[in-house]
Amino acid sequence: MKGLLHNRSTLPGALLTVVFAGAALISLFWVPYDTTVLNIADRMKLPSLAHPFGTDQFGRDILSMLMVGARTSIAVALVAVGIGMLAGVPLGLAAAARKGSLPDEIIMRTNDLVFAFPSLLIAVMITAVFGASALNAIIAIGIFNIPVFARLTRGAALTLWSREYVMAARVAGKGAARISLEHILPNVTNLLIVQGTIQFSLGILAEAGLSYVGLGAQPPTASWGRMLADSQTMISLAPHLAIFPGMAILLTVLGLNLLGDGLRDLLDPKLRRART
């Protein structure tokens, strides 16, 4: 904990993350104004005491929209990271446990293949086939997370398999699955947490991009990316419509990246130099 406070990037990162996660949580119970009610009389108002971030072209309060949008962004990115971990980590562990075997080859080659698809393209293709929705955005982003976690887990697990305590466990008669669960997994958790933060921030960017082009969450669900898309034609009349949602995305992603960097330094000092 002490290290957490003394690290240069962890504290601002954690603060930003808490602010946005807090906003999303609060929005579940309370928002300053109802985001589904249109109030044309109050449209495109500049920031004021009543509306700290102003109102949009339909008179909706931008702060409230951002709070609800935070929920969408965080939910999509979090579930996508979950999918990546739940599928990727076991695959990585299995591949490392049987290094060089046919399953290892198949897992790693499939991974290479998914890597060859730019993530955005997977998303575009999935939404083209199954229709645009937040759920399909989650699936699309989640699929791309799988090889990231599988590769990371495999790489880290491979070095662990040559450690003495793993040898000892093998001599004691433990099977590969049990060793992976009891000895390998706990030792790769730190790495997974750090990578999870990074994928989380990438997920938020991806969700924003997808909703911006209309392939993410659909109306009436508020989303940062769609707020930006809606503001595009009004940008010369009311720049604040574009500035606040953009800042929200920027600060959330920045916060998560800083937190990830800080956690990495804290949890695994050896990595400090290796990563860029």
């Binding site: 060859a116 575009v124 503001s231 595009q232």
Partner: protein
């Protein structure tokens, strides 16, 4: 080297086959009949039949795949349902916007990242280093389509230096075309330049810690001389790999940026095709982009092995 090349070539072909199967199957699982999906619920039975015939939907799944993949091999991507023109022709036209855009962005990103990364590494631990790294943190976190919108606001709407969108075509000359691509290229390049700066810096710092740099310094070279003559060349290897990967991200990332600037590139083609349910176009553009990515990675792998002979043996 020849053996390595052949091995990589086989792996390249396998990846392409696997990718084509994957793309084909994804579009095969469209719920129900693709022809009905494309034409909507009010389609007449004879129109549906005609489209099925045109799409070759009456054969078995293997026949359909082979005819599609065989067509790809000879550059026949099929005919677009909405544009009524060969898909290859459509893609050919759009490629003249997307490809220069990606290249332009790659050049910009390199021009920014190399000096910035080298400067930060040579000033390690100073305020300048922290400043560069801070800017790259912002560059990675900023959504590039939002940055693009802000640039339109400032440089197109307020200052009127650039147009807010659209593309005049290359017929009007090289410079107007490049001018129309400038803001999109900057927006595309920004996150990539930030990543590349960080890679350049850390790779250079790694090589600067090597024994041969110490030997070079002991021989009497100044810090700058050791860096320019010895460290930089070796530090470039990982940087080149990242650049190779980035090119594919730039091609794919252009999908969104093209929409911000209403550029008639592959990205806009895909989105128009999605809203028109023109699956053949979606399928072909995705396949083409994936092909480009796999090909670039292949080339980077070869370049890598050529520069660093140890890699040929290791794999």
């Amino acid at each position: 080297m020849l053996q390595y090349f052949l091995k990589r070539l086989v792996s390249l072909c396998l990846s392409l086959v696997a990718a084509s199967v994957l793309i084909f199957l994804t579009l095969e699982v469209v719920p129900g009949d693709p022809a009905a999906y494309m034409l909507g619920i009010n389609a007449q039975e004879d129109t549906l039949n005609a489209l099925r015939e045109q799409l070759g939907l009456n054969g078995t799944i293997l026949e359909r795949y082979l005819s599609w993949a065989g067509g790809l091999l000879v550059g026949d991507f099929g005919t677009s349902y909405t544009y009524r023109t060969p898909v290859a022709e459509l893609i050919g036209e759009r490629l003249w916007v997307s490809l220069p855009l990606a290249l332009y962005a790659l050049i910009l990103s390199t021009l920014i990242a190399f000096p910035a990364g080298i400067w930060a590494a040579s000033k390690r631990g100073t305020l300048a280093d922290s400043g560069v790294m801070g800017v790259t943190q912002l560059g990675v976190a900023i959504p590039n389509f939002w940055f693009a919108m802000l640039m339109v606001l400032v440089f197109a709407i307020n200052l009127r230096w650039f147009s807010a969108g659209g593309f005049p075509g290359w017929e009007d000359g090289f410079l107007p075309g490049m001018k129309a691509l400038t803001l999109p290229a900057i927006a595309l390049a920004l996150p990539q330049a930030s990543i590349l700066t960080r890679v350049m810096r850390s790779s250079l710092l790694d090589t600067l810690g090597e024994d041969y740099i110490r030997s070079a310094r002991a021989k009497g070279l100044t810090k700058g001389q050791a860096m320019w003559r010895h460290a930089l060349r070796n530090a470039l290897i990982p940087v080149l790999t990242i650049m190779g990967l980035q090119f594919s991200f730039l091609l794919a990332g252009a999908i969104i940026i093209e929409n911000v600037f209403y550029l008639p590139g592959l990205g806009r083609l895909v989105f128009q095709a999605i809203s028109a349910r023109d699956l053949i176009v979606v399928e072909s553009v995705v396949m083409l982009l994936v092909f480009a990515v796999i090909l670039v990675n292949f080339t980077v792998d070869l370049a890598y092995a050529w520069v660093d002979p140890r890699l040929r043996r290791r794999r």
